[in-house]
């Protein structure tokens, strides 16, 4: 049990880890809560694009999303971040979010509210990593047991 606890602590501390996919890149993101795992998934994605350590926190955006299930919510959330990054030319390093389960016409729905913070792109200052083309549904997973684990593959 202790060993398991230790593993959990390590994963929470680690926030996310990348794994290999031949043409692209995948990551696992972890969290004590569903929200924390979503935040770390966003952090992982921006660490493909840049190194978030060098991204200051002086611009914020609010995001509201509703989706029919948790994987779709994750997909829509990451996609929205990618959209804001490309259109407003912002890199993000800090993510605060809440997820609520609701009901519309007897259909379950998940609602996400987020405030994301970062800085305008300056490739002289920010590390230029890879361009993310899209989020894929391939092997996408959102799983909460002892901790929450998310698996995502990005198309590069």
């Amino acid at each position: 049990m202790n060993k398991k606890n230790q593993e959990i602590q390590e994963k929470i501390h680690q926030k996310y880890e990348f794994f290999d996919v031949t043409a692209d890149i995948g990551f696992w993101a972890y969290g004590k809560t569903l929200e924390e795992s979503f935040e770390n998934a966003a952090l992982a994605m921006f660490n493909v694009i840049t190194k978030t350590d060098s991204v200051a926190e002086n611009e914020s955006r609010k995001i509201n999303i509703e989706s029919e299930d948790l994987t779709s919510l994750l997909y829509d959330f990451l996609e929205e971040l990618l959209f804001i990054y490309e259109v407003d030319l912002l890199l993000f390093s800090k993510f605060d979010l809440s997820i609520k389960k609701g009901n519309i016409d007897n259909n379950e729905i998940y609602k996400l509210e987020a405030v994301v913070t970062g800085e305008e792109i300056d490739w002289n200052k920010h590390y230029r990593g890879s361009e993310v083309k899209a989020i894929t549904f391939h092997m996408m997973e959102v799983l909460c047991e002892d901790i929450c684990k998310i698996r995502v593959i990005l198309d590069l």
């Binding site: 031949t22 043409a23 490309e86 792109i121 230029r128 083309k133 899209a134 590069l156």
Partner: protein, 482 residues
Amino acid sequence: MDIKENIVEVRENIWEIPSSYKKEMRVPGRLYLEEDSLANLEKGAFEQVVNVACLPGIQKFSIGLPDIHFGYGFPIGGVGAFSARTGVISPGGVGFDINCGVRMIRTNLTEDDLHPKMKEIVDNLFANIPSGVGSKGKVRLKNDEIDEVLKFGAEWAVEHEYGWEEDLQFLEENGRILDADPSEVSQKAKKRGIPQLGSLGSGNHFLEIQKIDEIFNEEVAKTFNLEPDTITIMIHSGSRGCGHQVCSDYLRVMDKAYKKHNVNIPDRQLACAPIDSDEAQSYFRAMAAAANYAWANRQMMLHWVRETFEKIFSQSAEDMEMSVIYDIAHNIAKKEVHKIKGRNEEVIVHRKGATRAYGPGRVEIPSEYRNIGQPVLIPGTMGTASYILHGTEIAMEETFGSTAHGAGRKLSRTGAKKRYSSSEIKKDLESKGIHVRASSAPVLAEEAPGAYKDVDEVVRTSDSTGIAKLVAKVIPLAVTKG
């Protein structure tokens, strides 16, 4: 049951997975591979060929080309053609980068002309052609102008003085699919598209200066106007964030549509809709619009390449004979007419990581090339050769007029970075006399030649199976990357 045990050799380097392999298969699978590559092919890629063979309305074969590898849902290096009456359309069969493609330009310059100015040329190309997100775009579209780009493609670009009227003749579809409907493209896709129009992109996209190194077929080379030792320029790019967003949007739409229309699919990523459904029609028109964006994009970059050369050589692009050899799409779905069981039938051909390779006589081919077949452009990877082939009658009969599109990755990006460093790769390329510039730090290591399969073999297999025949080989002198 192991797939590999069920494979039957059709003729040399062509293999069939019989439709009896799985009861849901509607047609056999066909693979164009040398024996070694067949033995080494990932199991996932075989399964994907089989899965595509299960989709409603598929015609003749589910096809794996010489560069086939595992993709999301559909394999990359794959072709699936579906009946225009009873078939389906799937965004997964096209991929995220709609109309990712290659354009090739000839010149009458030689290596000796370029040699003393190479650094200047590379630096200027790098500065004049924006590479990716956050590069300051050179064009500012007004908000509704994007609709014109999506509707008219390369025609829009030529009308706005990017390039020459005659360029359009030498682009697949003349750089514009008429089915495009900008109203089927989301605001999000348009917003991503606006600032990125006229940019190369990152990853495997590149702009390369090359030299014609070897001619395999002199007669055809003459018709394509390829002179030994002259300089060519290749642009490899796609529809940028605009196309990626169109794909993402419609993957969500199709995920609902296949359930609604009760389409039975073996993998969720093959999500598709019957051809006559609203969802399929909307996707098709939006995809065509994104494809047009890509043709406009490559047209603008062509113009800046010409401008750069004009400035450096103080000569007009016309005097340097900088005309377009051809421009091909290698991620696209098209309405085409093909002979099936002796009759001309309309089909939707999905080419994902596959190049059209129309044989002689087709009206879609520019009249100058029509007796031979269309030029097929197969880019290599950074530092390796690229090839020009021509389409064939065999391709028309067997692969819906298609062949391979490139090398295909062998090592993951992290795998490549473990093995190579960007500075090492740069040094190595420069020792071979190849100049390189890249805007992102890891891209040179990630795109190291050793991270890719052998393009020579891909091209050899196309040639030996007859689905495209070799014309010329070009080798790189300089590369710029996003």
